[in-house]
């Protein structure tokens, strides 16, 4: 209604008060009935008939008559008031509008519409009301999109925007599900405007401009920024992470939840693992308070399953109210230690220390000479032994120096001063481990195809992981026998982490979740790859493993549970889109809709005639109804 009114103008608004006359007219029509007292009503009922034929038509005619009278009155009043459509005339400059369609424009405003819809509506009103010579409208998405091509036809531009608005209100068109590149859209709009002489670029956004200095200083094209939306009642996840505890049996969840609301808000944080609620906590958010940190350890469900954390209740921006991750089952790998003359005591001690972290009953020890006949386990540790030819079979292996021949990598001459001076700090195997302080008398450099260096000494790799011929391995070229490594925490932690890493990968080759905008990198080559189909709620994408980084790109906008299917293999993970910098809080006041445009000179007269004719038509129709009624219809 408000949009309709905005598209119309009235030359004498005071006369619109006469529309109130519809109230007494309607009341008189509805309630002023002639009352006749009769001796015996059933007599009339019988005369009218049991089914009262024509009763429905009589009521309809009655209501129709009232409607016609009211319409006639309304048309008469509007004609006298000078109702006419608002139309602006042409102006001297071109107008290029940029409507922000960032993910944050999905925020629901107080009128129930999304900020995106409000932005489109504001654009439509500007196009309808303001004076311009030529107009174009862009949407700021991940890639800017021209939604109204440059045109001088006001009606066509309006109609196009109205259609888009209808689609957006009907849910057939929406904002981006990821961050939109507002800067790119502004640059595109500027280029579009410059090609059209004097022009103005209007950006309709609640966000701060990413490139203010470039544009605001330039005289042409003029840059005008108009605010859209006022909603700021948002509570949501800003960080989310999962990690295994040192023992490997439990999962450590770290998250942070923030409120941008201007008032105190209370929301329940609920976390479910495998369908069972493991945490419910009421969070009180004070305005302006720092994010609420959540940290908890829990045992993953036996068969694995989904981890779901969400904020109960509602706010203006639901997309950040929930995060999801796929939990692998708890891991108890079996281990086979391959030794020469006996297991070295520190190796045994490491396994003993893992306790329930490994499947003791399935684990065992074997001489290197008997390895060919031994049943392989989840992980094999070659404890400084020389393997006989042909004993190495596909599986997960840990090689501890000294290193013999016949291994899936090449072993170089011992390093003179095996002082570890460089390691990969972000790699899960060596993160937080310090080998630099260890005293090591002997170290073997390793190299080979597919070997990833994790630590180097004297310029050569002494710790690495890789895969060749189905043998996945972690190799430590530093000899514990001739060092103080067994006395240091880094060594047992490395072995434990290597066991878990090698054992876990086949069970859960995908991470519990991947971040939006990041890469989906499997932990090992997936069978049936490198192509895969990614399917999530609301979308599907065919992905091809990028050979350079061995990862798929997380499709833009994908969020929630994802099924990854190669030829012959299907797995699950989740896409999580949390961003501490993302907020729906507008940085500027929402712009008021522009006032109605000037009226064309011939508009009122034509409309007045049309309205008077309509009033006359309504009265004639009412008269026809009266005549029909008096004839006994």
């Amino acid at each position: 209604m408000s949009r309709l009114l905005a598209a119309l103008t009235v030359s004498t608004p005071a006369l619109l008060w006469a529309l109130l006359l519809v109230v007494p007219v309607a009341l008189f029509h509805l309630y002023h009935r002639r009352r006749v007292v009769v001796a015996f009503l059933p007599l009339l009922v019988e005369a009218v008939g049991p089914r009262r034929p024509g009763g429905g038509w009589r009521r309809l005619r009655d209501r129709l008559s009232l409607l016609l009278r009211l319409l006639a009155l309304a048309a008469l009043v509007l004609a006298l008031a000078g109702l006419a459509p608002a139309r602006a005339g042409p102006g001297p400059r071109a107008l290029v509008l940029v409507v922000d369609a960032d993910v944050t424009t999905g925020a629901v405003e107080s009128d129930g519409r999304s900020r995106y819809v409000q932005g489109l509506d504001l654009a439509r009103r500007i196009v309808a009301s303001e004076a311009w010579r030529e107009v174009a409208v862009l949407e700021s998405r991940q890639i800017p999109e021209v939604i109204v091509s440059p045109t001088e036809d006001r009606a066509a531009a309006e109609a196009r925007l109205r259609r888009l608005l209808g689609s957006a209100e009907g849910g057939r068109r929406g904002p981006e599900t990821a961050e939109a590149d507002l800067g790119a859209a502004i640059l595109a709009a500027r280029d579009l405007a410059r090609a059209r002489g004097p022009a103005s670029v209007n950006v309709l956004t609640a966000r701060s401009l990413p490139v203010p200095a470039v544009l605001e200083g330039e005289p042409e094209p003029e840059l005008v920024v108009r605010g859209v939306g006022r909603a700021r009642d948002d509570q949501g996840f800003v960080t989310f992470d999962l990690a295994s505890t040192v023992g490997g049996m439990r999962v450590l969840l770290r998250a942070a939840v923030r409120s941008d609301a201007a008032v105190t808000r209370k929301r329940d944080l609920v976390i479910e693992a495998g369908g069972e609620e493991i945490l419910r906590r009421t969070l009180d958010f004070e305005p302006g308070a720092p994010p609420e940190a959540i940290e908890m350890e829990f045992l993953p469900p036996k068969g694995g399953g989904w981890l779901r954390a969400w904020l109960d209740g509602s706010d203006s921006f639901p997309p950040n109210d929930e995060v999801l991750a796929r939990l692998a089952p708890p891991l108890r790998p079996s281990v086979l230690v391959v030794h020469e003359e006996g297991v070295r005591p520190y190796t045994r001690a490491i396994l003993d220390a893992m306790g329930d972290g490994i499947d003791v009953e399935e684990s065992g020890f074997v001489r290197a000479s008997d390895l060919e006949r031994a049943r392989l386990r989840d992980v094999m540790i070659v404890d400084g032994a020389d393997l006989p030819p042909g004993a190495l079979r596909p599986g997960a292996w840990i090689f501890l120096a000294p290193l013999g021949p016949g291994l899936p990598f090449e072993v170089g001459d011992p390093v003179r001063e095996p002082l570890v001076w460089r390691s990969e700090p972000d790699h899960p195997l060596v993160a937080d481990l310090d080998f630099g302080a260890a005293w090591v008398a002997r170290g073997y450099p390793v190299s080979g195809d597919g070997l990833v260096s994790l630590a180097e000494a004297d310029g050569a790799t002494v710790l690495g992981e890789g895969e060749r011929g189905g043998v996945r391995y972690v190799v430590l070229g530093l000899d514990p026998e001739a060092s103080d490594l067994p006395l240091r925490a880094a060594f047992p932690l490395l072995v434990q982490a290597a066991i878990r890493r090698l054992a876990a990968v086949p069970l859960a080759p995908l991470e519990p979740f991947y971040r939006a905008g990041g890469r989906l990198r499997p932990r090992l080559p997936l069978p049936g790859g490198p192509g895969a189909t990614l399917t999530w709620s609301g979308g599907q994408a065919e992905a091809r493993l990028d050979p350079g980084v061995e990862a798929w790109h997380v499709p833009p906008g994908a969020r929630g549970a994802v099924e990854v299917a190669t030829r012959g293999w299907t797995g699950h993970t989740a896409f999580v889109d949390v961003d501490p910098d993302r907020t729906i809080v507008p940085v500027r006041e929402a712009a008021e809709p522009p006032p109605p445009a000037r009226v064309r000179a011939n508009g009122p007269l034509r409309w007045r005639r049309a309205l008077l004719a309509a009033a006359l038509l309504f009265l004639v129709l009412d008269l026809l109804l009266l005549v029909r009624r008096d004839r006994g219809g």
Binding site: V36, F40, R629
Partner: protein, 291 residues
């Protein structure tokens, strides 16, 4: 009603009227109505053979002299009869119909008492404090007329409900006259049927007012029932007016046919007609409704 039912001149005129018998009746006490019960009225009924113990005063000596048979004469008993006047006082009767109905009831009651009959007055709907009033002598005629005059109109019509209470309290048989417009939502004939089923000799005085079938032309009319307050929204067209009149006449004819088929004496009284015309029809010998 504030004015009296009858002026002195009208009462004098009533005196001159007589209710004639139409058939033998069942009654109680001595009166002016003939009965099939044999008694000592002096009106010869039949002979029968003498049996021991018969009163010798009733031996017909003329028969004995002519035929030699000893027979005794039997005489009809002369009884007074019960006349139950059921007067509709519901709101639908309000106006001309009520006045005519009460004047007819008053006339019938007066004449009944003049003939030494027992007159009882019952009101429909009934008065809880006094459902039935009995008058047994001509001297009480003024009281009867006063009651008929003074009871106010009111209530809704439900003949079965009201007559059920009345006939439940009645003993013996007699003549019951229902004076009403028969605007009973439950059905015009049910009350008459109830009276008849109790063995009463039944008469129906159907008081009508042509105004009941008249509606003013117009749209957006709400018809309100005078008794129940029920409403009906209508557009009153000439066609509807005609239909209402037809239905109104048809109801009267249907009631008359129903009564005739069951030997219920029926009299249609137009409220606009003279009382005396109606009484003449009522009391006309033989073919009169209550002659």
């Amino acid at each position: 009603m504030t004015e009296p039912l009858f002026t002195p001149q009208e009462l004098a005129r009533l005196e001159r009227l007589r209710i004639r018998r139409r058939r033998t009746v069942h009654g109680e006490g001595r009166g002016e109505w003939r009965s099939q019960d044999h008694g000592q009225s002096g009106v010869f009924s039949e002979h029968r053979a003498y049996v021991a113990g018969d009163d010798l005063r009733y031996v017909d000596w003329n028969v004995y002299g002519r035929l030699g048979d000893v027979v005794v004469k039997r005489f009809e008993a002369e009884l007074s009869r019960n006349v139950l006047l059921c007067i509709d006082r519901s709101l639908s009767m309000e106006g001309a119909k009520a006045r005519v109905a009460r004047r007819i009831a008053g006339a019938l009651g007066y004449l009944a008492l003049a003939h030494q009959d027992h007159a009882r007055v019952a009101w429909l709907p009934g008065r809880p404090e006094r459902p039935l009033t009995a008058y047994r002598s001509r001297a009480r005629a003024s009281l009867l007329l006063e009651e008929i005059r003074s009871v106010e109109d009111g209530g809704t019509t439900d003949h079965v409900r009201d007559l059920g209470r009345i006939v439940g309290a009645l003993r013996g048989r007699g003549l019951a006259i229902l004076i009403s417009d028969f605007f009973d939502p439950q059905g015009a004939i049910r009350g008459l049927g109830l009276l008849r089923s109790r063995g009463l000799e039944v008469g129906a005085v159907h008081v009508t007012d042509p105004q009941d079938a008249e509606l003013p032309l117009g749209t957006a009319v709400t018809a309100v029932d005078r008794e129940t307050g029920e409403r009906l929204a209508l557009d009153v067209t000439p066609a509807l007016q005609e239909r209402v009149r037809r239905v109104w006449h048809a109801r009267g004819h249907a009631l008359e046919r129903w009564c005739l088929a069951r030997e219920i004496r029926y009299l249609h009284v137009d409220a606009s007609r003279s009382l005396w015309d109606a009484l003449r029809d009522l009391l006309r010998p033989r073919e009169g409704a209550f002659g």
